[in-house]
């Protein structure tokens, strides 16, 4: 019977370093490498090409929960207005991602409505307004400092009245460790549901690809607070790989709907786990 040949430890170490460098996290990497060694039993591990192929398959398999339905099919099968709540910590790209999604919808012949529910940060409403004007969509906005739940409520009410297809609600960045801010998010969610039962139909958590292990804590807390239904991974045009989504996929089974690959309004792509894995291990 054919006996396997052990993989070259230097080759394994190289793959292991690539995965650590991509922010998969040391515990996830240890588990992935264990699975790889198991898969290689009985095989000729001295073939680097084979090791690469098995590792690729292993990672794609682990990422299965991250590969969900694209946003378009959610909308196609969802209610109208389809309410999307966008949340996440400070500076990750929520506002810019909303502009990108709105552009995509407009190009698909849909009518989105933006809701400026970040009433806290300086010029947040102005920023969303500039994007709305560029894309050619409307914005529901109150004054700076208004109650974000009230803005969200008005946004959903207006969406129903105007019979728009999609509502995109922009919220203020907030650290998941701030319980009062997470409570505010819970309130926004309750108020939206009150005005539109079942809403938000998609709660998108935006994650920055440059963030390390803390993204897992972010995902857990935001999921606990609003029931996250999808992830967006931004800034993948940089050198960070966002490998933490592997840990998030394993633990929380959350699909990555979209990825941000630049600062322009068209820099939005669907998540493809195969392409993602290829970026991790070359």
């Amino acid at each position: 019977r054919l006996r396997g040949r052990a993989a070259d430890p230097a080759v394994l170490e190289e793959f292991e370093s690539a995965l650590i460098a991509s922010d998969l996290g040391v515990r996830v990497v240890d588990r992935v490498m264990e699975r790889l060694k198991k898969q290689l039993q009985g095989a000729d591990g001295s073939q680097t090409g084979l090791v690469h192929r098995v590792l690729r398959d292993t990672l794609i398999e682990v990422l299965t929960p991250a590969q969900g339905l694209p946003l378009e099919s959610l909308l196609a099968n969802g209610p109208k207005p389809f309410v999307i709540l966008v949340v996440g910590v400070n500076g990750v790209g929520k506002t810019t991602t909303i502009a990108k999604i709105a552009q995509r919808l407009v190009q698909a012949g849909k009518v989105p409505l933006l809701v400026a529910a970040d009433t806290f940060r300086a010029a947040a409403i102005d920023q969303l307004q500039v994007w709305a004007d560029r894309v050619g969509v409307g914005v529901i906005r109150h004054r700076h400092g208004a109650d974000p739940a009230a803005v969200a409520f008005d946004g959903v009410a207006a969406a129903k009245a105007r019979k728009v297809d999609v509502v995109l609600i922009d919220t203020a960045g907030r650290l998941h460790t701030k319980s009062n801010l997470m409570d505010e998010l819970r309130k926004i969610t309750r108020v939206i549901a009150g005005e539109c039962p079942g809403a938000p139909h998609e709660a998108l958590l935006v994650l920055d690809a440059t963030v390390g292990q803390n993204a897992l804590a972010q995902a857990r807390q935001f999921h606990q607070a609003v029931g996250v239904t999808g992830l967006v991974l931004t800034k993948l045009d940089g050198t960070a790989r966002g490998g933490i989504v592997v840990a998030i996929a394993e633990e929380l089974k959350l699909p990555v709907r979209l990825i941000g690959v630049g600062e322009s309004v068209e820099d939005l792509q669907d998540f493809d786990s195969t392409a993602f894995v290829d970026a991790l291990i070359g």
Binding site: S17, I20, A21, S22, D23, G25, V26, R27, V89, N90, G91, V92, G93, F120, R121, A122, A123, D126, Q127, Q129, V130, W131, R134, G173, L175, H176, T177, D208, T210, V211, G212, Q213, N214, A215, A217, K235, D237, G238, T239, A240, I244, E263
Partner: protein, 296 residues
Amino acid sequence: SLSEKFENIFKKLRGTGVLTEQNIAEALKEVRLALLEADVNFKIVKDFIERVREKAIGQEVLKSLTPGHQVVKVVWEELREMMGRERAGLALASNPPTVVMMVGLQGAGKTTTCGKLGRYFKAQGKRVLLVAADPRRPAAGDQLSSLGHDLEIDVHRADQAQAAQADVVRICQAGVERGRDQGYDLIVLDTGGRLHIDDELMGELVAVKAAVQPQEVLLVADAMTGQDAVTMASQFEQRIGLTGVVLTKVEGDARGGAVLSIRAVTGKPIKFLGVGEKLDALELFHPDRMASRILG
């Protein structure tokens, strides 16, 4: 915690005379794990472990310490060494104005930190001018103006012509010139976020630096940054040249290992910490506090 894990590892070694390769191997494994989970870059971790191993092996186990405590002591000292002992904060030039240029990745917290620095130095009686040098991000100028308005600090914005041209070098030159002519003590340049691999935009920063010769070039970095901190920081240091670092969003629960990576590859001091969204949320860097947080 790491100290507790060490206690368990070294319980069985009580009374042995010298720290050996063998008995510290397990402890070093725990240190490696703790640092990686804290987001310290894996190459930095490797070097760190090596230095600790060299320092620890052959050390006499002091009568007053357990072997576990001894290794912790070496780890702690090595971390402190890496964090740097320079005084934190920013010294203003004896001949005003001091020009400070803020640089960094998108969303790191540059604009907000400009506001915080303005408030910090205004409280010391200094006259501060903030310069809105990001012509690209929607409402970036409005954002800085809004902060300046709340703080009652002047903000220089590009005029119509400059804004249309989006010539960042000209905008910064005009801002510094005005700051100099009108007797400001501190001029802070708020540049737009950019990728360290964007040659054109990194070139723009090089051109600004050459044109206005700032006393300080501060890299603003997010405390939750992962392994990429090394690539990012070394590129900013190599291509632009930094004088210091500001770490933001420190009040969250990220372990902050990125600070060690950034220190290691730039060799530059951490000058300030951003510890909140409000403009008073600025602290001086505390190496000890940061070190214990990284070790977990």
